[in-house]
Amino acid sequence: MNKTIITVVGKDAVGIIAKVCTYLADNQVNVEDISQTIVQGYFNMMMIVDTSRSSKPYAGMVAELDDLGDEIGVKIRCQREDIFTKMHRI
């Protein structure tokens, strides 16, 4: 299935994961995997999600997550998984 990768990068703060997950839950996006690290106070998270049950158009989700990132003070990117698998897997 066509998966989506959401990355969140920025200064660590309380509630980043909660806010992103709330948005995803509200839009019927299922989170399948989360990995997260903090390097020198910087928050770095990657989520693998499934958007197939969401009724939100892809472009709308990209834009809204970007806005949400601005609100929290982090950079949120939402990209189809293929760009990464094609580049790093033979």
């Binding site: 995997d33 990657m46 892809y58 990209v62 760009i83 990464f84 094609k86 580049m87 790093h88």
Partner: protein, 454 residues
Amino acid sequence: MVTILEVNETNKMIEQEKLDVRTITLGISLLDCCDADLDALNRNIYDKITRLAKDLVSTGREIELEYGIPIVNKRISVTPIALVGGRACRSPEDFVEVAKTLDKAARDTGVNFLGGYSAIVSKGMTPTDEALIRSIPAALSSTERVCSSVNIGSTKTGINMDAVKLMGEIVRETAEATKENNSLGCTKLVVFCNAPDDNPFMAGAFHGVSEGDAVINVGVSGPGVIKNALEGVRGENFEVLCETVKRTAFKVTRAGQLVAQEASERLGIPFGIVDLSLAPTPSVGDSVAGILEEMGLESAGAPGTTAALALLNDQVKKGGIMASSFVGGLSGAFIPVSEDRGMIDAVNRGALTLEKLEAMTCVCSVGLDMIAIPGDTSASTISGIIADEAAIGMINHKTTAVRLIPVIGKDVGDTVEFGGLLGYAPVQQVNRFGCADFINRGGRIPAPIHSFKN
């Protein structure tokens, strides 16, 4: 499953190292638009282009958004117009009308350039070919987005020296016709030897007659990505250096392949090729000269530059070929001067001359590109430079091209601004000794002995 490290690596390439898909180019055959009536021809051309390309720009934006990779340009290439306009166009003025139609179609579909105002005259010129070529100055000065190219030689046919002579004059006339604008017309005019049918990059793109009705070709870039990867292997031997370029080129091409397949599927138009060319831009960190300097040269143009470029060009091809089954176009490293900040700096510090650039074109993917020369350079000197470059291409079985801008009213020491991706260039010294008697001989240079393989 992809890892966070891989995701971060890709996003770093995009955000910090300026990895992008430089162009999605939709190739369109206009052979079925031919008509004996000029108005009907123009109508057919306009209708076919706007029909096939109506979703090109929006589809490009959609892909850009979903994959988070910039797609800088959406463009169109068409069948060489000399072939399409033959029946209807009886004079250069008639061809200019076709150029205006192409310009309108480009504007209405939202693409920034449309290539294919071209003639293939590698062995001989028909009257129609000649009429198109003679119309180029007027066509390029009365349109905004149309790009023109003329193929004047090939390994199989030799060099058409009559066309070389004519093109020297046409380059000058185009410069004159656009002199109010720093002779900008010449930035949209390429003279080729061994022009490929499937090149997606402007200004030399056209949709060759060996192609189908419509095709999607994609050009990927990423000099910054290669430079950054090389920063990690400073001081290592050539094996490590080559391996690093190859691996990085592989990754970059895979991104291009993905975008090409997506675009092809969404537009319902077959995928042609991925052209992996390191195409620099004037912005910081997006320079081919920067890669050469990272390899250990004090400046691009220093001794060792040709070897460094040969290595780069070859490894880029090797990485690219592994990544996509259909690599085509020009694939390699471009060395335009005005579009590459490192090249501009090298010229300004006196490290890079026109003669060194010519040597570099023996091993790069194209030729003498985006070089500003004094406005009083004679037509025969320009023809001489074209002939030299074509000879390199013909003998070495490679594409070579010349895109010189004799900037009217400017001389060595001046800098000329072309704007946007076209950048700016210091006017470079040209050898002042004449070659008019050589150029004026007329006729053809025969094909080289090693072209006879039948």
